[in-house]
């Protein structure tokens, strides 16, 4: 006999769900428009997507209701807000990259934009909850859309990338569910704040089950955040996806994954579980070092950037490891700076995308293609070089400040040895970023090649590149306001 349960609508706090509802409705709206008229230009959909994201951002920023809603499943604390801001702004900056001057297969389908918005909603779900099931749903929504978006690029390589990513992602999803199951078995809950309480009371009485759960979680998050040894999909997926999508993959899914990792590992590191701490430590060091070494030997700029993004993810995970307020601030600052720099770098690759590849049968963007770029397109070469120097951490460009603040936070927490390992890695990393600068500035252009660096350029793309270059160069003046915003949100949510 079932009892009727009455729930008042007001106790649900539907407003906590509003940000996701808006983008999903936006995506559905785009599909409906397509039903009515099939011949609309992609520029319409780009603008509609941006507008939906702007409205969403406004709602996220303006939200001042209770922090929990929808049966306590949605959690909109400071970290969730901050994560959503980064996701939405990054999405807004990436979607105009589809306004290319060349035609590409994916942008002629309005479904692309609907999928893009659904994906954004998925990532928002991931950051705005501490319920493992809802995280899983968000993760899957976003990932499934992303696989499709990659495949829509409609090259053989893209299908390969999408299938590879899908298979790996499915495995990771399985791990995630396994982890959640074990955690539920041990603690009787799938909500992180309740799990934390049980673990604190229990003092690891049920070690084995919990550790199993953590191990599965390592694998699941490791796939998403591309930690070594779960990184094998990264270079191929970047290679197969369009440069615009690859840039997006390097930023938005990672910040969502980082926030989940932050919420999850915080429980164990705060509880003083040495096993988790040590494993995380080792994984971070391996991730930074190996990806840097792999990046050294790449022939393609895009693959190099793929390995570089693995290394940056490892770098920033140190903030989760040391787990202080300053390090959490540093994590977000680093990622914001990384967003602008990487956005610029991938947008530059996207601009130089050329259908016929004259230098290499394998790659779209081999180093050789950029040889002597400074004599052909000095301004473009200078801007690209600035992005590379920023990635390498040369002051005064954007990522240096993220690195400075992160290293400062790590030294503050007493992990000087870790900081030394990190700077040694930065020194290795400088070499491969420099390699592109060397090709652009120090080599003679290939006389045979009829290179068209700006083939794919349009006003929209140039604006995005200009904007990210401006932020990268003038970063020093943006650090103060960013830090204020970040620390107010981070402190508000008690991390």
């Amino acid at each position: 006999m079932l009892h009727t349960i009455t729930i008042s609508l007001s106790s649900l706090h539907i407003s906590t769900l509003m940000p996701m509802i808006i983008v999903i409705l936006g995506g559905l709206g785009i599909l409906c428009i397509d039903l009515i008229n099939k011949n609309l230009s992609k520029s319409l959909y780009v603008m509609l997507s941006i507008l939906v994201l702007v409205i969403d951002l406004g709602v996220v920023l303006g939200y001042s209701g209770p922090s929990r809603g929808m049966f306590d499943m949605i959690l909109s604390d400071g970290i969730a807000t901050l994560g959503q801001i980064i996701i939405l702004v990054a999405s807004m900056l990436f979607i105009p990259l589809s306004l290319t001057s060349k035609r590409f297969h994916e942008y002629s389908h309005p479904e692309f934009f609907a999928l893009f918005l659904f994906m954004t909603a998925g990532f928002q779900f991931m950051v705005a909850t501490d319920n493992l099931m809802l995280i899983f749903i968000g993760l899957e929504t976003a990932s499934l859309s992303l696989y499709t978006i990659i495949a829509l690029h409609n090259l053989e390589k893209s299908f390969e990338a999408a299938i590879k990513y899908f298979t790996m992602g499915a495995l990771a999803a399985g791990f995630f569910v396994f982890s959640a199951m074990l955690i539920y078995g041990v603690t009787g809950s799938i909500e992180l704040h309740k799990i934390a309480k049980v673990i604190a009371l229990d003092s690891f009485a049920s070690q084995l089950g919990l550790l199993g759960a953590v191990a599965f979680m390592f694998a699941a998050l490791g796939f998403k955040l591309s930690f070594i040894p779960f990184h094998t999909w990264v270079p191929d997926v970047y290679e197969g996806a369009s440069a615009a999508t690859a840039g997006y993959i390097s930023i938005v899914p990672k910040i969502a994954g980082l926030i989940v990792a932050l919420r999850f590992f915080d429980i164990f590191i705060t509880a003083g579980n040495e096993w988790v701490y040590n494993v995380l430590y080792v994984i971070i060091i391996i991730t930074m070092t190996f990806s840097n070494i792999m990046a050294l030997v790449q022939d393609s700029v895009k693959r190099m950037l793929a390995y570089s993004s693995i290394s940056h993810a490892g770098f920033v995970m140190t903030a989760v490891l040391v787990n202080t307020t300053a390090s959490h601030n540093a994590l977000f600052l680093y990622w914001i700076m990384f967003t602008f720099t990487n956005l610029g770098a991938f947008a530059m690759l996207w601009i130089s995308r050329y259908k016929r590849s004259e230098f290499s049968a394998k790659y779209d963007h081999p180093y050789q293609k950029f040889a002597g770029m400074v004599t052909i397109k000095p301004v473009a070469a200078t801007i690209m070089a600035i992005f590379m120097l920023s990635l390498a951490g040369v002051p005064p460009f954007a990522l240096f400040w993220g690195k400075l603040y992160l290293l400062g936070a790590i030294i503050n927490s007493g992990n000087t040895f870790l900081a030394i390992l990190m700077v040694l890695n930065s020194a290795i990393a400088a070499y491969y970023y420099l390699k592109l600068v060397v090709f652009m500035f120090l080599k003679e252009p290939d006389p045979k090649a009829n290179v068209a660096y700006m083939k794919n350029a349009s006003t929209a793309l140039k604006t995005i590149v200009g904007f990210s270059a401006a932020v990268t160069i003038l970063a020093i003046f943006t650090i103060e306001p960013f830090l204020e915003m970040i620390s107010s949100y981070v402190v508000a949510s008690g991390f």
Binding site: V423, A427, L434
Partner: protein, 508 residues
């Protein structure tokens, strides 16, 4: 004149950006005029500088990241004042002598950006601002060596960049650690050197931090055994790159010792003196011997440059007024003399496209003006009295004599060895019979080259005969710094060493 120093820092950058608009045929004239204005501005700095005034003058301050204590804090004292003038002067001279045609626009703009970073390094009082300019200076130099250099230019440029970049990252750790320590003691976040100087740091921590800073600076100087990047860089760099590298960029390392290592870590400086002095002496003797073995004129000068930097380091770690004042003065004279030598080698290389000594001979009769100028500069380089090179070298060694006569004697052999290889170079190339017929057609210095070289010769002689206008401001700043170090010293050894300093001062 409130913002004179900022103007001097950012004027070349601004001019460099505008330079993109200037047409290619006029860009050299544009570069020279900008560099001249910049030089005149830096002279204005000198005339407005008051040697009896505050420790740091022309101070400017505004917060950049106040939550973390990073401020735009600049100012100069007697030590940095002349290094700034050296930077602007050598930039101007090297632009006058410039005769590269390829991509000249990019080159001139790069030089102007480099000039900004050099002046910035010497005027920063906030460590992060210092670090910012310090790192940024690598980028233009990378481009200069890599784009206009010789055959192995890319290798040389990348090696230069990576070496110094790795060293300065270690220094960054030291900087952040010290800032963190400062915060934990005082509760204030700051990166201002003027605040840091007042902090007494426990000796153990001083030693660790000293090492971190030392790695950063030693690679830049470059000290033995980190010196291997320099011969490559010089060997491959175009003349203008070598001039600026030898004249100014290397001085950033020794300036770092004087500005940061000594006042921040007095006890560690005393503690490490024997070690560093040993390195410096190895550097002086070993590189002098290597220089003697070279066949390429430019390599001789490159190694002699390292050898002289050894004397500078030795003088700095004498930790007394004579030694440090002498070493700062030697930085200036080495800047001018080695810059001039590289320029002279560049002159002959442009005519003959070889730098091998064995190719020349008898140049004295073919190119008398060239030989005269080369001779004067060379004499200064080996430290002949009444030339600029003598004053600095002598004072540095006198300073260290008070610490250890034996080590000073060993360091002094560098002067003798220097005389041997330099005179050998002069004999091989300028006297005797010409070894190649091509030599006989060589033209003597033209007007443009004379315009660049004669001022250098005049400065070398002027400051050799009458160095007082420069020595006095340097000396007063050095003494202020030494007083501070003496007050902060904790270990008995350091107290004793730095007390000698004081006695010496009173004896005067």
């Amino acid at each position: 004149m409130d913002h004179l120093l900022s103007l001097i820092i950012f004027f070349p950058l601004f001019a460099g950006v505008l330079g993109f608009i200037v047409s290619k045929d006029s860009i050299k004239a544009y570069g020279i005029s900008i560099a001249t204005v910049e030089f005149l501005l830096s002279l204005a700095l000198w005339f407005n500088y008051n040697p009896a005034g505050n420790n740091f003058q022309f101070v400017e301050y505004f917060p950049l990241i106040s939550a973390y204590g990073i401020n735009y804090h600049i100012g100069i004292d007697g030590i940095s004042l002349f290094l700034i003038i050296l930077s602007t002067f050598m930039t101007m001279i090297s632009l006058i002598a410039l005769n590269i045609e390829k991509d000249i626009k990019n080159l001139v703009i790069t030089i102007l950006v480099l000039e900004m970073t050099m002046v910035g390094v010497f005027s920063a009082l906030d460590v992060i601002v210092f670090y910012l300019f310090w790192e940024l200076s690598l980028v233009p130099m990378l481009y200069i060596i890599g784009a206009w250099g010789g055959k192995l230019r890319v290798y040389a440029a990348v090696k230069f960049f990576l070496y110094t970049f790795a060293g300065s990252l270690i220094m960054l750790i030291g900087i952040l650690y010290l800032a963190n320590y400062f915060h934990s003691v005082t509760g204030i976040w700051t990166f201002s050197i003027t605040d840091w100087q007042l902090l007494v740091i426990p000796v153990n921590l001083q030693i660790i931090l000293f090492i971190a800073f030392f790695i950063g600076f030693a690679i830049k100087v470059p000290m033995f055994p980190f010196h291997t990047w320099l011969p490559y860089a010089h060997g491959q760099a175009p003349t203008i790159g070598s001039i600026i590298l030898a004249a100014v960029l290397l001085k950033m390392g020794t300036y770092g010792f004087v500005r940061f290592s000594l006042p921040l870590f007095p006890d560690a400086s005393v503690y490490f003196t024997p070690f560093i002095a040993t390195l410096a002496i190895i550097m002086i003797i070993y590189t002098a011997m290597v220089a003697f073995a070279q066949k390429d004129m430019k390599q001789v000068i490159a190694y002699s440059s390292i050898s002289h930097m050894g004397v500078i380091v030795l003088g700095t770690f004498a930790l007394n007024a004579e030694g440090i004042t002498g070493s700062v003065f030697f930085m200036l004279s080495h800047g001018i003399v080695s810059g001039a030598l590289f320029m002279l080698v560049g002159v002959i290389y442009d005519r003959r496209h070889t730098k091998l000594m064995s190719e020349f001979g008898g140049l004295a009769s073919i190119m008398p003006k060239y030989a005269t100028i080369f001779g004067i500069i060379l004499m200064s380089s080996v430290g002949l009295p009444l030339t600029m090179g003598f004053v600095g070298e002598f004072l540095s060694l006198v300073g260290f004599y008070k610490v250890s006569p034996v080590m000073t004697a060993l360091g002094g052999t560098g002067i003798i060895l220097g005389a041997i290889y330099m005179l050998n170079l002069f004999r091989e190339s300028f006297f005797g019979k010409s070894k190649s017929k091509e030599n006989e057609k060589l033209k003597d210095l033209n007007k443009k080259e004379l315009m660049a070289l004669v001022p250098l010769v005049l400065v070398v002689i002027w400051l050799g005969v009458y160095p007082k206008p420069i020595l006095t401001p340097i000396d007063s700043s050095v003494k202020k710094m030494l007083n501070l170090m003496q007050l902060k010293a904790q270990t008995p050894e350091a107290k004793e060493r730095l007390l000698v300093v004081k006695k010496a001062k009173e004896a005067k």
